[in-house]
Symmetry: C2
Subunit: 336 residues, 2 copies
């Protein structure tokens, strides 16, 4: 047992679309006592048809649970957090699966929930939406950001254990604002570029021919432009300042490429693409060094600093054990 | 037999990298009498080891051939065209596999080669390079642009027949300058965006974390940034004006997205993404209507106009038969 040594873990998932639904399916497949709830009645019926326990009322879903995952559209998460916090006991761990973190983390702090709410972001998805598109294996091997707070380390440890053990995800510890700056470049600006490329093709007088000749670069580069428009809009608006800052970095590089092209400077073009290629090459597969690190009771500030360092260095956790207050992490760091 | 009813087709491929090599492998697999040549001695040895006939000298490879495919780096194609034209008979059909067309088409016209040179562009590739990455099935189902000239229709018909029958590719007839405008948006600007995204990530102080959290949108959006830098540079420089014009269209749409985000205008964001999604949805699969069209001798201007119309409408050819000067095409047009 992961969270309660003496009993079967009791979990709930509130908001069971693509991401929440995949969390629900995985927990259920892993034998966890889990109940789902979604405001959409059709979604609840779908879950029931799939053989997954589902409550008709949110309060029934979360009653007497050890951990509740909060899903659903990003703008709804603050209200959901308040509602679920009020309906659960103090020992009940709360986390969310939203794609931006600073705003909700700040809100949770204002609400005095830091000790049991751990902002989270499983970095997986598809271009589809809803429970029908959910997959129990969606998070296997994926990065799953969790934000450790100095006064929320106990909750962080419990959730890190659950996420590594049940979801086989790579837990990436990161401060909420750092997360938002990173995903602005790693996910949100790519959505802007994909939208711009597909949108320009749509408006082009050459539209039909462009779509007919669309090769791998166009198909790949526009894939996420096919995701539900409102979901993408919510994601971008939830991280506006960071997205606009990251976009400036990308358009600055784009200007350099265009400038080199305009002046027919072959060497400059090749040099810029060599930079781009260096980042791309590392995506193909980075070798990691494993390290195990333990923190005794009272070392919380050092623990948070070390965790943040793991995330900043591109590393992740694959395990977490808490024995009588001394925690041990298994970490993986990219070789330098 | 496709080109000579009385004898086995004799073909050659000059420049056997990724694209030329894939042409070579396919022709060989189809039982065509084909010989390859590449300026790189190691590539020639590789081809020989793969059991594909390869000459040591270009002149030997192309001597007495019915058709020669010209591959190799884009800037080398004009010189290769001149050399191969001089080494082959007037009846020998010439075509290239370069990624831009207007410059080479204009050069061929200056050289008086329009009647036997058909500018071509098979729209397939991988992020790898060289004969080792070549695949005989690379073009199956892919778009393969061929540029019909009013005084080169006989050559166009022969080549369209060969490309549909032997490569099972979709032949897209298109004027050379139209092709370049279309691929600027369908392929070249996507390469610029991919380079800008990967390059900005490479330079970011958050580089390691960005690469660790790179989700599908970043991986897809940067894939072609991993292609050989010089090849990408040649491609962009070979279509500079069209690429810069298409980039302006894409950055204009990007500015609209960024403006909507900056002013937190949810409706405007959703509306822009709905436009983008409309183009994307058609990529998933367009239904086509089939039509068969014949042209008797003397109808060449109507034939060229009809062919250009097929390409402009997002259509393609799947077959071409020339019986006593009357040509019949099987065309597929997107349903409107």
């Amino acid at each position: 047992m992961v969270l309660r040594a003496d009993a079967r873990l009791r979990a709930a998932v509130v908001g069971t679309g693509l991401i929440g639904g995949s969390v629900l399916l995985r927990l259920h497949a892993a034998g966890v006592d889990v109940t789902g709830w979604d405001p959409d009645e059709r979604t609840r019926r779908q879950a029931r048809l799939a053989g997954v326990p589902t409550a008709d009322r949110l309060a029934d879903a979360v009653a007497d649970r050890d951990v509740v995952f909060l899903g659903g559209p990003l703008p709804t998460l603050p209200a959901t957090l308040v509602e679920v916090a009020a309906a659960t006991a103090e020992h009940c761990l709360l986390t969310d699966v939203g794609s931006t973190k600073a705003e909700l983390a700040g809100f949770a702090a204002e609400q005095g929930l830091t000790s049991r709410f751990v902002p989270g972001h499983p970095m997986a998805g598809t271009d589809r939406a809803g429970l029908a598109a959910a997959l129990p294996e969606l998070f296997t091997g994926a990065a799953w950001v969790l934000c450790p707070a100095p006064d929320g380390l106990a909750a962080f440890r419990r959730l890190a254990t659950l996420v590594t053990d049940v979801f086989a995800a790579r837990v990436v510890p990161m401060a909420a604002d750092r997360h938002d700056a990173v995903v602005a470049l790693a996910s949100h600006v790519p959505h802007l570029l994909a939208g711009a490329l597909a949108g320009a093709a749509h408006r082009s007088p050459l539209r039909e021919a462009v779509l007919a000749l669309a090769a791998g670069s166009f198909r790949d580069g526009t894939r996420v432009a096919g995701t539900p428009a409102q979901r993408t809009g919510n994601m971008l608006r939830g991280n506006r300042d960071q997205v606009l800052a990251a976009l400036d970095q990308v358009t600055a590089f784009l200007d350099e490429l265009a400038g080199a092209l305009r002046s027919d400077d072959a060497d400059a073009l090749t040099a810029r693409y060599a930079e781009a290629g260096a980042a791309r090459a590392e995506l193909a597969g980075r070798p990691y060094d494993e390290q195990v690190r333990s923190f005794p009771p009272g070392a919380e500030p050092a623990e948070v600093a070390w965790l943040h360092g793991i995330g900043a260095a591109g590393g992740h956790l694959s395990g977490c054990r808490d024995v009588a207050g001394t925690v041990s992490y298994v970490a993986h760091l990219p070789q330098t």
